[in-house]
Every structure is written in C-alpha cells, then in structure tokens.
C-alpha cells in the first residue's frame, strides 16, 4: 500500500517538474521513470499513475479555467462536440493524461520484469 502511495506522489511531483521543460508527454516520462524505481503490482501498475496524472491535470485545468470563468473551456467543449460543459472537458483531459501515463507505466513494469532473473 505504501508503495502505491509513494508511486502516486512521486509520479505527480515528477510530472509537475518535467512539465516545466518537456511537452505534454512529460506525464508519460514521469510515469515510466517512477514505475522503474517504485514498481507496483497487478492493476495498480496502471491505475496508480492513471489516477495520479488524472488528478494532476484536472486540478491544474480547473485552477486555470475557473480563474477565467471557464470562457474558453466551454468553447473547446463545444468544438470537440462534448456539449458545452467545461467540467466534462476537464475530466476528458484528465483521463487522456492518465491513460498516457498508465500505458507508459505498464511498459516500465515490463522493463523491470525483464531485468529480473528467470
């Protein structure tokens, strides 16, 4: 359990730091690196970084967008044809980021397994 929590926190902190230097795929890099050093088991491999990044992106989006009355978020939601609901757009954004992080972590896990003998 503690490993899950530390992976969760490290993924977010690392993603936040890397996003200062790297494009959007910083979240994939963060999840991959974290999965190498704090390997998890079974579904946690995917879901811990998934929820970590989902939370990170969603909160970040909310902070930016709410400060501007969600003006642009409503328009982008309309543009992407998911209604005019900014919260839905925030959720979609979070899920996309989480998914990208999750699959990167699965890949990392496979590398870790390869390194083990047998």
């Amino acid at each position: 359990m503690t490993k899950n929590i530390s992976n969760f926190i490290v993924t977010i902190v690392l993603a936040g730091t890397l996003s200062l230097f790297l494009p959007w795929w910083s979240v994939m890099t963060a999840a991959l690196v974290t999965s190498l050093f704090i390997p998890l088991k079974r579904t946690a491999v995917f879901f811990v970084p998934f929820f970590g990044i989902l939370l990170f992106w969603a909160v970040y989006c909310f902070i930016l967008s709410s400060a501007n009355d969600f003006t642009l978020a409503k328009k982008i939601a309309q543009l992407l044809q998911i209604g005019e609901n900014p919260y839905l757009l925030i959720l979609v954004t979070g899920i996309l980021g989480g998914m990208a992080a999750g699959v990167a972590a699965i890949f990392g896990k496979q590398i870790v397994l390869l390194g083990k003998k047998g």
Partner: protein, 807 residues
C-alpha cells in the same frame, strides 16, 4: 513470453503517444492540445495590460494606456517607435489573424490545411497576389525608403512579440491546427494590402459578359447591362463643372471583342463589399461643427477585421480603426481632420486573349513574337510533396487561365491586366493622412493611392468637407475592357492613365453635404469612360434623400441613418407587383401572406415578416426571370437588381420574361409575379413549420463567424439586427457594417465608434466578442481621445514598452 509482453507494451506506448501527438483529420493532437501545461488551458486568460515589457530596437519608452474597451492609447516619442509599438500591440492582441490573413492572401493555406486548399492557393497565385506584393515592395525600395523603413519597424515590432512567445503562449488556433507562427516581414504588409485590393477592386465580370454578349447579342446586352441606369445619383453631384479637364478620353479604335466561350471563372470577392460615408458642413450641422460618418461593409468575421487604436507622437495624435498588418489608422480622425473610405468600384481588371507559339515561350503581339516570363509558384502542402505551378507572364500580366488551369486550349490563354499588380505606395497615403492638418494635406496624401480606388470623405475642424474619388484609373476608350480583348493588338492595351488631378472630387459643395455609397462616381458629363459592373443604386438615394429632408443635422441623426432599415428596393417593386398580380387563384394561406406583405411599410426591422416575404418573393422572381442564364457549362451572370426591376416594370412583355420550362405558354412579368409569389408562399410555409415563424431576425439569422469557416464554437450566432444588402444598415446574414464611426469636428474632435467584434483575438478572452450586442442594438462607444500622455479616469491599465538591447 517476457519479450512478447515487453513488445506489446512498447507498441501500446508508441500507439498512445502517436494518437495523442498527431492531428487526425479535423481532430487536433489531443495530448498537445489539451494538456494543461502547454495546451489550450494556457489560453484561458484575459489581456495583460500593465507592467513593463522590453522591446529590442525601441529608442525611447512607449506608454500604452488601455481603456475599458481594451483600446490601446499609444504615446511614442517618434514615428519609428510608434510603428514598432503598433506592430507589437497588434501581434499581442491579434497574432493568429494577422498571420492567417497574409497566408490567405499569398495562397499559402495548403501549408496549414493540406491538399483541400490547393485549388484556392493556385487561384490566388495565378491572380498574381504575391507578384503584386513584390511590385509594391520594389516600388518602395526604389522611390520611398522612408515608408519602407516604417514598414520594417512594424515588422520588428511584430517579431519582438513573436520572439517572446513560448509554445504554450501561442494563440489557440495554432494549437488547433498544429502549426507555429513565423517571422513577419515587410512583404506581409504588402500582401495584406493586396488582400484589401482584391477584396475591393478584385471583382469583374468581363468573361461572363463576353459569354453573355455572344448569347444575347449587342442590343439585348445593352438593355440588360447599360452603362448608366435611367436614373443616376452619383457620388460627385450631377451639376459639377468639368470644363477644367483638358486631357481627352482615349480615342475609340476599331477593336472588336473576342467572343470565346468561357466555361468557368476564378472565385470572386463578395459582391456586397462596399460602404457608406458622408459628411455635413458646419452650415448644415446643429452645432455648427461639420460631422462625418463612415461604415465599411465587409464580411462579419471574428477576430474582426478592425482593431481600434490611438497612435501618437509629439507631432501628431490620431485615433481610429486599424487593420492588422497595415500601419497607421485607416478610418479615423486626428486633432484637425477626420476621414473615412467607401469603395469606388471601377473596372480596373481587364482580360486579354493570348496566343502562344508551339512551346509556349512566346506570344503574339503587334505582329511579332514576344517572350513570356515564367514565375514558378512553389506551393507547400501539409504532409505532401510541394506542388509547382508555372504561371506565364505577359506584358499585360499573368496568364491566369491556360491549359493548366480551367482551360484545355494548348496554344492560348487569358491574361489579366489588373491595377493591383502595378506596385505603388498605398501605405504612404495612410501614414500621411494620419498626420494631415487640413484639406491641402489630405489631398497631398491621396496622390500616392493606387488601388483599391476609394471615395475618401473628409472633414476638418476649420470647416471644410470634401470627397475625392482616388485611385489610379486607366484612361480607357469607350467600352474598353467590358469584354475579353485580343491581347496581340496594341490598341487594346491601356494607353494612359487619367491624370490624378482630374480624378473626380467635390469640395464644400453648395448642398452642404457629401456622401458616397458605392454608386456611380459621376454622371455622363464626366469626360472619361467610367464603366463598372457593380454600382449601388439604393443606399445612395436613401442617404441623399435623408440629407435633403431637412436643414440641420445632429450626431443623433447620423446614428439614426447608420441604423436606417428602409428597403427602397422593395418599395420600388412590391406595390407594382401587388397591383398587377392576379390574386383570384390564391389559397387561404397565400392570402394571409398577401395581407402580411400588403401592410409592410418597407422597413427591414427585426420583428417584421415583410422582409422575409420580399426576399423569398423577389428571389423566386429573379430565378424565373433569368432562367435563360442558368447554364452549367458556361460562365454567365444576370442583370443587377436595379435593371431587373426596371425591366419588369417597363418591358413586362419582353421575351426574356418567358419561362423556358413551360413550352406551351409565353409568360409575361405579370405571370411571373404570381408564379413567384406562390413559390415564395410554399417556401415560407415550410420555414414556418420548421422554425415556428419567419420573422426577419430569425429568417436572416445574422452571425459573426470565425475566420476558420465560421467554427460555431468561436463564432457569435443568431444576432438580432435588422437591415439587409442595399439598405443603409447593410447587415445581411454574414456581411455588413464592420466599423461604424461618427466624428463631430469640435476641437479636438469628439467621436463615436463600434464594430462587431472585440479587441482581443483570443476566444478565451471576454474581450473577444464583447462589442457585438451593442453593435446589433445600434449603440456606440464614446472614443476616449486622450490629449496627453496621462491616464484619465477612463484608463484601466498602463503598460510601458521599454528599449532593450538585442541579445
């Protein structure tokens, strides 16, 4: 097994990365687009209007005060700094639009959109847009390096802004389409001016007329397309004395039109592009000060075509509407004068048939062979190999149509002679107008203006009003260029130009007002040939009638006139149709509609049904009447509304009235009225069933559309505003008054202005479209004309641009 899992997970990672990093069809690359650190969430911001910003190349501080409309009031210490600041600020608020418009002008949209835009790009390049821009730069390099220097300053300012941007700061459209801004150059300013030239002086029907002439013969052509209508209220009043003109019109040669069949012609600008302007003298003004108004009618777009600014140096102080990409104020006022433009449409595009030699390296001219020059247009296409289009140039201009473009004739083509290709120094006119102090300065400034020809209205605080029709006009022989001409005959070339001082103008006319609304420039007494194919005939008469209706006028009268929705066109035909039409066969539903239009008072207000009935009725009538000219295999055109109505009323039994589809019957105008009315009634019934009513505001559904094909998310839809084309309030579906300005010539002038948009180009800003509701309601903003570099109570933020060393 391990390796397989590794491989599968690797493929998964790559797949997800690819899917989120790549633009797939219209869907932007979602990872790039939506991530909060560099995606669209970074565009959820207002304008930054305080603080200090370093700009390389500035010589002194420039202060920028913003009022609550986000109009920048710029105080620079010299002109170089001023235009740097203008470039910087325009980019700051409108970067994507600034660049996109010049990409569109240059025929470079395939770079952004891929192959779908190739036909468009080829058309713009064959039209010679890039060629024309290069001519303008070459002219400035040779004759006016001062102006070119200012254009370079503007470019430096734009680039100073672009250089400060990180990818997360790019306007949202770049993120949506997945590309990046490039450096701005003086050529882009020239391209923008070409874009305006095309928009306003890029319309012609010469090739269509050629087909028409072949089809209907000379006599009928004259009846359908007369040089002058039966009644003219020209820009320059009818009684003007032209005896001072001592250069005659070019003599008529024995030249004949070339009666080719042309199947298809290139895209043309919107036929409604036009404008109103007027001014009253002090004697006709309630306060004793002249008053001036201008409202250019253009496509209603977001971001708006106009960006309002105050620009000042210690030597001048000017306020008004600018166009992103061009320097200085285009329609505005300074401490001494006010000015505005309407389009002076005149036929400044002519077409020549070119005969090539075997390998198309030479063409026939004056009994000899002359070399063609080849300009290779290298068109970049997104995700594809470049397309190279070789365009042949003759001394007339580019051969637009040849075997490679809209024609299959191996040995001939059609070359375009367009004033837009002549270079010239349009930018200088505006720079000088901005500084003009009186009538003489205004006339001096105009001499540099070639195209698009404009009716420049003028008023000064010292009491002068004037209107010059300024452009570079070929001195044509009677009828020259109405039809396709033989390009090998020197007599068909433009022989000379009308000397600038003989351009038509009026200064302080006796009637006490000047006005223009794209109508005929002059009456038949003007000694030069002035044919054009798009003269307005309604707005001008409503405006002039208004100024003849009473003695003195106020700013409120000007506002009322801007918002005037009187439909003179309908008034001139509907009563006649109602009187003539046989109503005995009308059904109950049709009778209801008959009653509705019978009580209509010819005002296109939002809650009326009359305008919708009129549109349907006249639309059906026009189609029925000109069914002869509906041929998919030939490029044809139909007569203008004014002449159409004239023919319906005066030639009701002409063979043209007959409907071709009914072989056993010969229809007259009277029959057409009824058939068209029934068609309209059935259409209106359908609209009512579908939408609930056909009240004008809903029927018309005016919208201001985003430059990207009116993406609904970034557009403003269903705007309740009256008016229509050919009405003083010229708002139709997506076209109309794009800037409304009224200036009273107090000292300093006091002004009102508004446009359908907002100062910000960012769809995420509340200043993106915040003017539209007030504009639709006919309201104005008072423009805060600051007289000194001090933040008045109207100022909500001040930003200082400070000189910074180059890195």
């Amino acid at each position: 097994m391990k390796y397989l899992k590794l491989l599968i997970s690797f493929v998964l990672v790559v797949g997800v990365f690819y899917a989120l990093n790549t633009k797939l069809g219209a869907v932007p690359p979602l990872g790039k687009f939506l991530n909060p650190s560099s995606g669209i969430w970074q565009n959820e911001t207002d304008e930054s209007i305080t603080g200090e910003i370093g700009i390389p190349g500035l010589t002194e501080n420039v202060t920028v005060h913003y009022d609550e409309l986000i109009i920048p009031h710029v105080f620079a210490q010299n002109e170089h700094d001023l235009y740097k600041a203008q470039g910087y600020l325009t980019a700051k608020h409108r970067l994507w639009q600034l660049e996109f418009q010049t990409h569109a002008a240059a025929g470079r949209l395939s770079e952004i959109f891929g192959e779908a835009a190739l036909e468009y790009d080829r058309t713009e390049r064959r039209r010679g847009m890039g060629y024309g821009a290069e001519q303008a730069i070459a002219f400035m390099e040779q004759y006016d390096t001062e102006t070119l220097g200012f254009v370079q300053d503007y470019a430096d300012g734009v680039n100073a802004y672009i250089d400060q941007l990180r990818p997360e700061d790019y306007p949202v459209e770049y993120k949506l389409l997945d590309y990046e801004p490039e450096a701005w150059t003086p050529k882009k300013t020239a391209l923008l001016l070409m874009y305006m030239t095309k928009m306003l002086a890029g319309y012609d029907d010469d090739l269509e007329y050629t087909n028409m002439l072949r089809l209907v013969g000379k006599e009928n052509f004259k009846l359908l397309f007369p040089d002058f209508f039966d009644r003219t209220e020209p820009v320059i009043p009818n009684d003007t004395d032209w005896s001072f003109i001592d250069v005659p019109q070019t003599e008529l040669p024995g030249s004949q039109a070339v009666l080719d069949t042309i199947i298809e012609t290139i895209d043309k600008p919107h036929p409604d592009n036009g404008s109103n302007n007027w001014a009253v003298s002090g004697a006709r003004s309630v306060t004793g000060n002249p008053i001036l108004a201008n409202d250019p009618h253009l496509g209603l777009k977001l971001p708006a075509i106009w960006f309002v600014m105050q620009l000042s140096t210690p030597d001048h102080n000017v306020f008004g509407a600018t166009i992103p990409g061009a320097l200085s104020v285009i329609s505005g006022f300074n401490q001494h004068i006010a000015w505005g433009e309407t389009n002076a449409t005149r036929d400044v595009i002519d077409w020549y048939k070119i005969e090539f030699n075997e390998d198309r390296t030479q063409y026939k001219y004056d009994g000899k062979w002359k070399d063609v020059t080849v300009r290779v247009e290298d068109i970049k296409i997104k995700d594809k190999e470049n397309y190279k289009d070789s365009v042949l140039y003759t001394h007339h201009g580019p051969v637009v149509y040849d075997k490679n473009f809209k024609s299959d004739n191996e040995r001939s083509g059609y070359a375009m002679r367009w004033i837009g290709h002549d270079g010239g120094n349009n930018q200088k006119t505006f720079i000088e107008l901005n500084k003009a102090k009186n009538y003489e300065d205004y006339v001096d400034a105009l001499q540099y203006w070639n195209a698009p020809a404009q009716n420049f209205v003028f008023a000064s605080t010292t009491g002068d009003i004037a209107l010059w029709i300024q452009g570079k006009f070929p001195n044509k022989w009677e009828g020259q260029g109405k039809f396709l001409m033989d390009g090998s005959d020197p007599e068909n070339d433009w022989q000379s130009y009308i000397p600038q001082k003989f351009n038509a103008y009026t200064k302080n006319p006796e009637r006490g007002f000047v006005s223009s609304a794209n109508q005929h420039p002059v009456d038949e007494n003007y000694p030069y040939y002035v044919f054009n194919d798009g003269y307005e005939t309604y707005r001008n008469r409503v405006i002039n009638a208004f100024f003849n209706s009473k003695e003195k006028f106020s700013v409120q009268d000007f506002r009322d006139l801007h918002n005037n929705t009187h439909n003179l066109k309908a008034e001139e035909l509907v009563p006649y149709m109602l009187e003539q039409m046989d109503v005995s066969s009308l059904s109950e539903d049709e009778k209801e509609i008959y009653r509705e239009i019978n009580t209509w008072r010819f005002n296109n207000d939002i809650d009326e049904v009359g305008p919708s009935i009129w549109r349907q009725w006249y639309g059906a009538l026009y189609e029925l009447l000109w069914d002869e000219f509906n041929d998919e295999n030939t490029a044809l055109t139909s007569p203008f509304t004014y002449q159409t109505i004239y023919l319906l009323k005066h030639h009701g039994n002409h063979p043209f009235m007959d409907v071709l589809a009914t072989q056993d019957k010969v229809e007259t105008a009277k029959d057409l009225f009824l058939i068209a009315f029934k068609e309209a009634a059935s259409q209106l019934k359908e609209i009512k069933e579908e939408k609930g009513d056909y009240v004008w505001a809903n029927y018309k559904g005016t919208y201001v559309g985003h430059l990207l094909q009116a993406l609904p998310a970034f557009s403003k839809l269903d705007i309740p505003i009256g008016g229509d084309r050919n009405i003083v309030n010229a708002t139709s579906e997506n076209h109309g008054p794009s800037w409304r300005m009224i200036v009273e010539m107090t000292s300093p002038p006091t002004a009102l202005g508004i446009y359908p948009g907002g100062q910000s180009g960012n769809p995420g800003s509340k200043y993106y479209d915040n003017f539209i509701d007030d504009w639709a309601a006919g309201r104005y903003h008072s423009l805060n004309f600051l007289q000194s570099n001090e933040a008045s109570s109207a100022i909500i933020g001040t930003q200082t641009l400070i000189p910074m060393d180059h890195d």
